[in-house]
Structures are given as structure tokens and as C-alpha cells.
């Protein structure tokens, strides 16, 4: 139970709180808040600063920013999580097989991965999105594919390291088949790295989604997402900065929370497994 104590650092508490808030909002907000609240346009109140009627102000169409941010959370989190999951589904087996078998398999697979790796991730995501046509699903695919190479490389490195450990050799000499070795022995030992990296990737995915939507190659209206909100606010920055600040802060806080949580998670998982 001392594991949980380690989370109680300053960073840990803030990190977990932020992440929990965002997750809860993403899950429950759409259930509590009727969707009209976010789409109702009130032209008389357009571009109004935070006040009693609209807690975080309104955008250029008079929509309440507070509710839009809350509802947008779900979209952004959804995209980010799906993208990371996708990169895991592709990258994990890829990295495991490559690292465990080594040799030519490793060479070939990693060459493939490297070609993708030499493209900056965001650029890759943008290109894929442009090619496929921007919508929610394709955004997920684009970000997922863009993040896969890095994850695959990382997992391959870890799998390579673990595959050479004496306990894997010992298990092999006690008659374990390759699949048992990979799934039963290598996989559990690389999980800490995978978990920590996933947390960090989530943060980047949210940023990526915001970036893509900002450039018009991510989620499209009428869906609400934080990136879209920032993009929409471009023309009104001088008059109504809160239109950008509200979604921007939401993104920043989520990324911050995830980073902190990931850091603490890394501290918790690494030394224990290596003791």
C-alpha cells in the first residue's frame, strides 16, 4: 500500500486531480448538460465577457463558452484516447515482436517504422488527415498513425532489453514457447514503460487534436471540440480574448495534469519493478 503514498506528492495530487476532473467532465457533462445549452445562439449576447448569465462569456455566435468547453471535453478526450489506443494496438505487437525476435525481423520492421519516424509527428498527422478528408474518425486515424512509430520504437527497445534478461532465458530453458515468453514474461515487464508513455501520448494527442482542428483538418463543426473553439476565436482575439483563453486553458490544464500524472506514474512504477 505504500504505492499510493508515492502519489501523494505535490505534483501527484495536482496531476491526479486535474486528470480526474477532466475525465469526469468528459463522461458526465454530456449526460447532465442538455446539448442546446452549447448550441443555443443568442446574438444579443455575442462576445460578452464572463458574467453571471454566462460564466465564461460567449463566442461570436452568442453561444455559452462554459457549456461548450464542458461538452467539447468529451470530443477531445474521445479523440485523444482512441488515437492512443490505436497506436497501442498497432505499436505494441510490432514493438514486442521486433524486440523479442531481434535479428532480421527486427531490422525489417524497424526500417519501416523509421521511415515514418523521420517525419515530424504533427506533419504526418496533418498529411494523413488532409489525404483522408477531415472528420472525427479520420482525425483519430491520423493522430493514431502519427504516434505509432515512436511508441513502437520505445516498446521495441524495452522488449529487446527484457528479452535478454536471465529470467526469460530460464523460462525458455524450462520449456516455454515463444508466445508464452512474449505474453507471459516480456509483456508484464514492459508494462510500466508502456503505461507511462501512453499517459504522455494522451497529452500530446490532445494537443495534436487541438492543432489539427485549429488548422481545419480535424474535427469539423457542428461538433464542438477545444481545437475548433480556438480556431473560431481567431478573428476575435483583439475584441474578446476569452473566446480563445477558455478553450486554451482547458487544453493547457489537461495537458499539464496528464504530464504530472505521467511523471509521478513513472516514479512509482520504475523503481519498484527494478528493486
Amino acid at each position: 500500500m505504500s504505492i499510493f503514498k508515492k502519489f501523494l506528492t505535490f505534483k501527484g495530487i495536482i496531476g491526479i486531480t486535474l486528470v480526474l476532473c477532466v475525465v469526469l467532465i468528459a463522461i458526465f457533462a454530456p449526460l447532465i448538460i442538455p446539448p442546446e445549452f452549447a448550441t443555443k445562439m443568442d446574438m444579443r449576447a455575442r462576445l460578452s465577457p464572463p458574467n453571471m448569465a454566462h460564466w465564461m462569456g460567449t463566442d461570436q455566435l452568442g453561444r455559452d463558452l462554459f457549456y461548450r468547453v464542458m461538452l467539447g471535453a468529451r470530443t477531445s478526450i474521445n479523440i485523444a484516447t482512441s488515437a492512443v489506443l490505436m497506436s497501442l494496438v498497432i505499436g505494441l505487437p510490432l514493438g514486442l515482436v521486433s524486440g523479442y525476435f531481434g535479428g532480421r525481423t527486427d531490422n525489417v520492421l524497424m526500417r519501416l517504422v523509421d521511415t515514418l519516424l523521420s517525419f515530424p509527428a504533427l506533419l504526418l498527422a496533418l498529411t494523413i488527415s488532409a489525404v483522408l478528408g477531415p472528420n472525427l474518425q479520420n482525425t483519430i486515424i491520423a493522430i493514431g498513425i502519427a504516434f505509432t512509430p515512436y511508441l513502437a520504437r520505445l516498446i521495441r527497445g524495452e522488449a529487446l532489453r527484457v528479452a535478454q534478461m536471465p529470467y526469460v532465458e530460464a523460462a525458455r530453458s524450462s520449456g516455454a514457447t515463444n508466445s508464452r515468453l512474449i505474453i507471459g514474461h516480456v509483456l508484464p515487464n514492459i508494462m510500466p514503460v508502456v503505461i507511462v508513455q501512453s499517459t504522455i501520448s494522451l497529452a500530446f494527442a490532445i494537443l495534436a487534436e487541438a492543432g489539427l482542428s485549429f488548422l481545419g483538418l480535424g474535427t469539423q463543426p457542428p461538433e464542438a471540440s477545444w481545437g475548433l473553439m480556438i480556431q473560431a476565436s481567431r478573428d476575435y482575439l483583439d475584441r474578446a480574448p476569452w473566446t480563445a483563453l477558455v478553450p486554451g486553458t482547458a487544453v493547457a490544464l489537461t495537458v499539464l495534469g496528464l504530464n504530472m500524472f505521467g511523471d509521478v506514474l513513472r516514479d512509482v512504477l520504475d523503481p519498484r519493478s527494478q528493486s
Binding site: 505504500s2 536471465p166 529470467y167 523460462a171 524450462s174 520449456g175 514457447t177 508484464p188 515487464n189
Partner: protein, 618 residues
């Protein structure tokens, strides 16, 4: 002038005054689990010109004591919470090292007290040249000019007998061998002519021949400069060879202190007696022909007299013929195979049922590779391996899998040979499950049974590896190896990483298991004294070749091959009356077994001088 007076005038102190005097030292560490007292009330003195060996097992606090003397322990989170450490300095002043300020301490470090550590590989900064590392201490503590320090550096290298000193200055640590690196480390420590040299396990990581060289180097330097040496080790044989006086520590406490002869021939405390009983002494087995367990007090393993019927019919279990294993070396732009490491070169031997055959040699000789080749954990290039008549080499992968039921391996590192994420129950049961040898409920029974055999409580089944000590983990590793009832168990330096007393227990366990189950062992080790205790047969390896093989008494009492004799001469004997580390030993460095592709060494020719005693002649 008498010896003493000569020394005295050299040092500017009275010989009766200690250089360092520890007085009720107490050192604590803050950990997650509370305050840990690493050193509890230690007091002893070190006089000029003598070697004091601080001996103990892991956790004894010996390293912490030495680090406290240098006030380096604070960097690792330790705190000196009590006692005094008096250092006598020039002009008869004494300083209390536990209280001096940082600057004074810095002027003492590397200057009046020098320290060398265990790992020569990591003691040198990989990105700085040798010259720089030798001279920055000099430039700090002395007023020599740049060219003078360079001259001094060359002198220092000559003093530690490094050939070609001018060339070495420009080199980097990775270009030097392990033995040479340790010499450089000693040269660095000696640079400012310290009056006390603290050596923390300086030879533990070195081969036995290099260890002998380094030990004799330290002796010579001690004699020439009159400095005192505080030598920390866990190896009683080294203590017997090096010490004038001995201080025995256990879990932070000082157990016993005395001259080396007193400690070895008339130990007073129980712990000291137990420690000495657990140390295998080279030469003790002369005249016997069978392995015999160590006579440790409080042994939980019932020590049975050795079997004199090694299998009613002396049946051959393992036959290795002309085994060749090579590892490719890739290089060049296209990563082509440019050379081969000839790890195992044309090795042949046999092991009978219930017999222990030892493979000895220094690092890189191929003994580990040989063991792993037999199990085909690495693929041999050619040769034949017959286990119970079946040729292991010719089996395909699924046949190999089932053949492995009959031979298992215990690895060296008790920390890395168990999966940190698996409970012990699963790890021990795994071989049974892999081979489908038993149903669910049977597996549990068998596992419990085995755990009892290796003398571990069944409550351990629920635990994870990190909750166990090194010795306990090794017992689990042994349990895992014998659970499928193999005929052959290959142990690859299985006890090398264990404390002396734990090592003795595990060795006794192995011998009693051999007795009970009729196991054969291929015992791979570099420790000659241990090998002498446990083996029936011994094979000596050098550069991948088997240079001499015979029964244990043939090899140990009548070594014939030049290399075997060199090995025997270098092994420290755990008896202070039999000092064999003379002053300035120099052994041939071990050449590298890397040869260009296509190089085929000639077949070995053996001469049989007695029944079963073979010596390599080419």
C-alpha cells in the same frame, strides 16, 4: 637504523601513533522505512605501514565506514550521528573528520587519504583522457606546473607498472583492459602520496590472476611509501593474504578485532567462527576424492557423508564431443561479419550420473558459453552433445523443447533470473506447466514438495522475488530447475554473487540434493576453492579450449598444464600462514579469442598422463 625508525622518519610521525582512529562511530541513513543504522559504535585504529582488513558480508557496514572516513557518505544520504574519526596530520595535529568543514575535507581527500573502489570499469570517467584524470587531483593539491604534473603522471604510471606510459596518457578508459584500469585508478589514488589508502573491494570484480597482480601491487606500494592500507573485502582468502590486522563487522557492529593470525587460528566470537567455517580453503581437500559439504554451524541441511557409489553402473549421462561455438562480430559500413569470437573451441568431456563436473577458468574463457551451448540457449556451430544417448544438436525446436526437460540451468544473478512480476508459485510451477507434466492440483503438491526440499517455507509461494534475499532467490531458482526432475543441472556461477555464509548453505543444499536425487551438475565457476569442495571432475578452460581435465584430486594436487598452474598460483589461500601472493606478480594478459572469418584452429591434441587426466599439448 631499524625498519621501524626508517619508516617513522619517512612519515614524520611516531610509529606508535595511529594514522586514523575511529572512536564510537555511528552512521545512519533515512529511508522510506525509517532510520537505518548502518554503522553502530565502531572503534578501531590504523597504524602507519600496516594493512587493516575490514571484513564482513553485505549489510555489515564496512563500506559505509570507509565512506564515512572520506565524508563521502553524505552524498549517498548518510549521516554521521555520533563518534569521532581522528586523523593525524602533519606536525602531530589531529583533526576530527566528522567535524571538519568542507574545504578542509576536500584538501584531505585525494591528498592525505586516497580511495579506490570496486569497479574499474566505471571508476574512470569515460569521456576524459587518462592524463586528465591523473593530473586534476595533482593540480588541485600541489603547486606543480602543467609540465611537471605531466611528468608526475608518467612517473605514477610507471610506478603501477603500466607499460608504455606516454602512450597511455592520451588514451581513454575504454581502450584499456580491466586490470590496467584498476592500476590507473590506484595511480590516481596514489598521486599525492596519501598516508592512508582505503581500498573498497578493489579486486572483487577482477579475474583471479589480475586480482593477484593488483594485490601484490598494493603490497609493494605499501612497503615503498610506508602508507597504511584499510582494505575492505568480504573474501576471507584475500584477508588471509593481505592483512596485518583484521576487523570483523556484522550488521553495523564490530564483532571482533585482532591480528590476522589470531583471527584465523583462534577466533573468539561465534560469528567469526561461522564465517571462517563457511570459507572453502584451497588445499583443504587434498587426499580426499569426493566432494564434501562445508561444516557450517547451525546448518539446516543435514550433512550426509558423500556417496561412494556414484551410480552402481557408472553410466555416462552427458557426452560432449568437439563442441564449437562462435559468435559473429559485425563491422564495416555494411555490417558484414568481419570476425568470429571463438567462444568454445573443440571441447569434449563427459559427465556420469550423480557426478559433478566443474568448468573453471577466468572471464572470457568460454565456460559460460559452453554451458549455454549444451542447452542450446546459444546455437553451437558444430559438434555433438549426447544426453542419455540423444544427440541434442540434431533436434528440431519442438524436440529440443521436450529434451530440455532433462537438463536445466541455474543462473548467476539471483536478482535477474526470476521474473519480478511473477509470484514464486507460478515461477516454480512454470516448467511443470510448460511441459504439461501434471494437472492443476498435482502441480501445487509438487511445488510445495520442492519448496520443502530447498528448505524454504511454503508461505514464500505467495511472494514476489524482490521480497526475498539473494540466497533465498537462488534456492527458488534451484527449485525451479529441479521441479521437472532433470538428470543434469548446469549451474552458471550460481553462488558467485552470494555472501560467504549464504554461499556455503546453498552449496551444501546442492550437494544434498545430488545425494538425494542422483543429480549431475555441470558446475561453472571461477572460484577454485569452491570448485575443490564440490566437484568430482574438473575441466580447466582457457580461450575456449579445454586445457586440462581430470578428477578433482588430479587437477588440484597435480596440475600439469602451464595455465592451470598459473591459475593455482594466483588463487589466494585462506590461511595467513600460507602466503602465496608475493611481491609483484605479473601474469600474461589473456589474449582475445577473436579471429578473422575462416580461421580454423587445429584440432586439440591431448596427452593422458594418468587415468582420465588429460592435458592439452598444442
Amino acid at each position: 637504523m631499524t625498519e621501524r625508525n626508517k619508516l617513522s622518519s619517512k612519515l614524520d610521525t611516531q610509529i606508535d601513533d595511529p594514522i586514523v582512529s575511529l572512536d564510537h562511530l555511528r552512521v545512519e541513513f533515512e529511508t522510506d522505512g525509517g532510520t537505518v543504522v548502518a554503522v553502530n559504535d565502531i572503534s578501531f585504529k590504523v597504524f602507519p605501514g600496516e594493512t587493516v582488513c575490514l571484513v564482513g558480508e553485505s549489510g555489515s557496514g564496512k563500506s559505509v565506514t570507509s565512506l564515512s572516513l572520506m565524508r563521502l557518505v553524505e552524498f549517498g544520504g548518510g549521516q554521521i550521528t555520533g563518534g569521532k574519526m581522528l586523523l593525524s596530520r602533519d606536525g602531530k595535529k589531529t583533526a576530527n573528520l566528522s567535524e571538519v568543514d568542507v574545504d578542509t575535507m576536500r584538501s584531505i581527500r585525494g591528498n592525505e587519504i586516497g580511495m579506490i573502489f570496486q569497479e574499474p570499469m566505471t571508476s574512470l570517467n569515460p569521456v576524459f583522457s587518462i592524463e586528465r584524470q591523473l593530473t586534476d587531483g595533482l593540480r588541485l593539491h600541489t603547486n606543480l606546473s602543467a609540465s611537471e604534473t605531466r611528468e608526475k603522471a608518467i612517473e605514477l604510471l610507471k610506478e603501477v607498472r603500466i607499460p608504455d606510459p606516454e602512450k597511455r596518457l592520451r588514451q581513454y578508459p575504454h581502450e584499456l583492459s580491466g586490470g590496467m584500469r584498476q592500476r590507473v585508478v590506484i595511480a590516481i589514488a596514489m598521486a599525492c602520496r596519501p598516508r592512508l589508502l582505503i581500498a573498497d573491494e578493489p579486486t572483487t570484480a577482477l579475474d583471479v590472476t589480475i586480482q593477484a597482480e593488483i594485490l601484490s601491487l598494493i603490497n609493494r606500494l605499501k612497503r615503498e611509501t610506508g602508507m597504511a592500507v584499510l582494505f575492505i573485502t568480504h573474501d576471507m582468502a584475500v584477508v588471509a593474504q593481505m592483512a596485518d590486522r583484521v576487523v570483523v563487522m556484522y550488521q553495523g557492529n564490530l564483532i571482533e578485532e585482532g591480528t590476522v593470525n589470531e583471527i584465523f587460528s583462534a577466533p573468539k566470537e561465534e560469528y567469526t567462527k561461522a564465517l571462517l567455517a563457511a570459507v572453502p580453503q584451497l588445499g583443504q581437500m587434498a587426499g580426499t576424492s569426493l566432494p564434501s559439504p562445508l561444516n557450517i554451524p547451525g546448518a539446516t541441511v543435514t550433512v550426509k557423508p558423500p556417496r561412494d557409489d556414484i551410480g552402481i553402473e557408472k553410466k555416462t549421462l552427458l557426452e560432449v564431443k568437439n563442441l564449437v561455438t562462435r559468435f559473429p562480430v559485425y563491422g564495416g559500413i555494411f555490417r558484414r561479419k568481419v570476425a568470429n569470437v571463438h567462444a568454445v573451441e573443440n571441447v569434449s568431456f563427459t559427465i556420469d550420473r550423480g557426478e559433478t563436473m566443474a568448468l573453471v577458468g577466468e572471464s572470457g574463457c568460454g565456460k559460460s558459453s559452453c554451458g549455454r551451448s549444451i542447452l542450446r540457449l546459444v546455437e553451437p556451430e558444430s559438434g555433438e552433445i549426447f544426453l542419455n544417448g540423444k544427440n541434442i544438436i540434431s533436434l528440431n525446436s519442438s524436440e529440443l523443447r521436450s529434451a530440455r526437460r532433462d537438463m536445466q540451468m541455474v543462473f548467476q544473478d539471483p536478482y535477474a533470473s526470476l521474473n519480478p512480476y511473477m509470484r514464486l508459485r507460478e515461477q516454480i510451477a512454470e516448467p511443470l506447466n510448460n511441459f504439461g507434466l501434471a494437472g492443476r492440483s498435482e502441480v501445487d503438491d509438487i511445488v510445495r514438495d520442492i519448496l520443502e526440499k530447498v528448505e524454504l517455507p511454503t508461505s514464500f509461494l505467495r511472494r514476489f522475488p524482490h521480497e526475498l534475499s539473494g540466497g533465498q532467490r537462488q534456492r527458488v531458482a534451484i527449485a525451479r530447475a529441479i521441479v521437472v526432475n532433470p538428470s543434469l543441472v548446469i549451474t552458471d556461477e550460481a553462488v558467485s554473487a552470494l555472501d560467504v555464509s549464504v554461499q556455503a548453505q546453498v552449496l551444501n543444499l546442492m550437494m544434498s540434493l545430488q545425494d538425494e536425487l542422483g543429480l549431475s551438475y555441470l558446475f561453472i565457476s571461477h572460484d577454485m576453492a569452491v570448485v575443490e569442495r564440490v566437484s568430482h571432475k574438473v575441466g580447466v578452460m582457457y580461450l575456449g579450449r579445454l586445457v586440462e581435465v581430470g578428477t578433482r584430486s588430479q587437477i588440484f594436487e597435480n596440475p600439469q598444464h602451464e595455465y592451470t598452474r598459473t591459475l593455482m598460483a594466483a588463487v589466494p589461500i585462506a590461511d595467513p600462514k600460507k602466503r602465496n601472493i608475493s611481491n609483484d606478480m605479473n601474469f600474461k594478459p589473456i589474449p582475445s579469442p577473436v579471429f578473422p572469418v575462416g580461421h580454423n584452429p587445429e584440432n586439440p591434441i591431448y596427452e593422458e598422463i594418468e587415468d582420465g587426466h588429460l592435458i592439452l599439448r598444442n
